[in-house]
Symmetry: C2
Subunit: 185 residues, 2 copies
DNA sequence: ATAGGTTTACCTATCAGTAGATAGATGAAA
DNA sequence: TTTCATCTATCTACTGATAGGTAAACCTAT
């Protein structure tokens, strides 16, 4: 038996929900659908996650924690600022754009009015983490002050998210590099 | 009787649908809801727009045509390239970000997998129009070639759309200028 | 000018499908 | 024996869509 043989149902539900949110946002999945994919009933999904909000929060929190843990530590990593930034740009492309997806953040942001409060807060926190990490990279080598670094972080994060929108709407993957290339080097 | 006194039902439906799409995307409105807001029955909305796809196409096409007609003509306008670009950036802020909204394009793009084909095509065309206009502005004074101008257009459009995402998710309107300020002057 | 037909813009009623959620029962494991 | 994970069954609410009816407005040929 390989160690990935048997995954517990709870994680399995989260895996499927995560995928569904990435593909269609908060309204694009249902308890019934998730249950059917696993081979259980929708009531059993409710056992693990009482409400849709609970499930979405769990998915988003897990995704965010995983994302944060994969980010190189700005202080201890021996990478240069440019290497870190290029890695961020490349990672966004590999994990999101190349899979014909948009980020889970973008997907949930357009649903923001329909989200339960807890999800909205989790989402805002995710952006905060990204902006802070980018900000700290921008301050790394240059003598940039914090305000200026936050501005650069906003600029970069907006470019990446916007670029993925352009790709998704036009179907032209090259537009990603067109839109974000200026950020490199 | 003022001349705006009586609007025909069809346009009224489109007005409400447009608003709903801007606020929540393709899944955020129903025939019943629109009908209730006007004071008619959902079947009557179906009379004007047989399917949800038809209604969405009509709304998007009207929005796009109106948008296109409001863009200054790059050749005949006496504005400089910088004036035109700043106007575009400001317009996006005034019409979209300041109203705590995202663009109708962004909203529909995240729903792209659920859209009927005709809507998807209309949407892609909208992006094409924006990119072409921006591209022609970038070619205006500089001797920039078409390829380079398209790249700049992608970069700029991505920044605007991405900036509005950042604003929507964090609730901080200032992030718009942070993210797009570098495009000015 | 008007009678007869047509079109417009709505209506009521209804359909099958899906949504999120809950109550209460069951069997297996700890 | 209690807890866990699942089930069946069901609820209310809502979805997009259709069939068929109606009253008024509009057209056209006599």
């Amino acid at each position: 038996m390989s160690k990935t043989e048997k995954k517990d149902t709870k994680s399995l539900i989260m895996d499927l929900a995560e995928n569904a949110i990435i593909e269609g946002g908060f309204n694009a999945f249902s308890f019934r659908e998730l249950a059917a994919q696993i081979g259980i009933k929708s009531a059993s999904v409710h056992y693990h996650f009482p409400t849709k909000g609970d499930l979405t929060v769990s998915v988003l929190r897990r995704y965010k924690d995983n994302f944060a843990s994969e980010l190189p530590c700005v202080e201890t990593s021996h990478a240069s600022a440019n290497q870190l930034l290029n890695g961020f740009i490349d990672g966004f492309k590999t994990k999101i754009v190349d899979n014909h997806n948009m980020s889970i953040c973008t997907m949930l942001t357009t649903d923001v009015r329909q989200l339960p409060d807890e999800v909205r807060e989790e989402l805002a926190d995710f952006y905060r983490i990204k902006l802070n990490w980018l900000g700290s990279v921008f301050m790394l080598e240059t003598g940039m002050d914090e305000k200026q670094a936050q501005i650069k972080a906003c600029q970069m994060l907006a470019s990446l998210h916007g670029a993925s929108i352009l790709v998704q709407a036009t179907g032209d993957v090259e537009k990603y590099e067109d839109a974000v290339g200026y950020l490199r080097q």
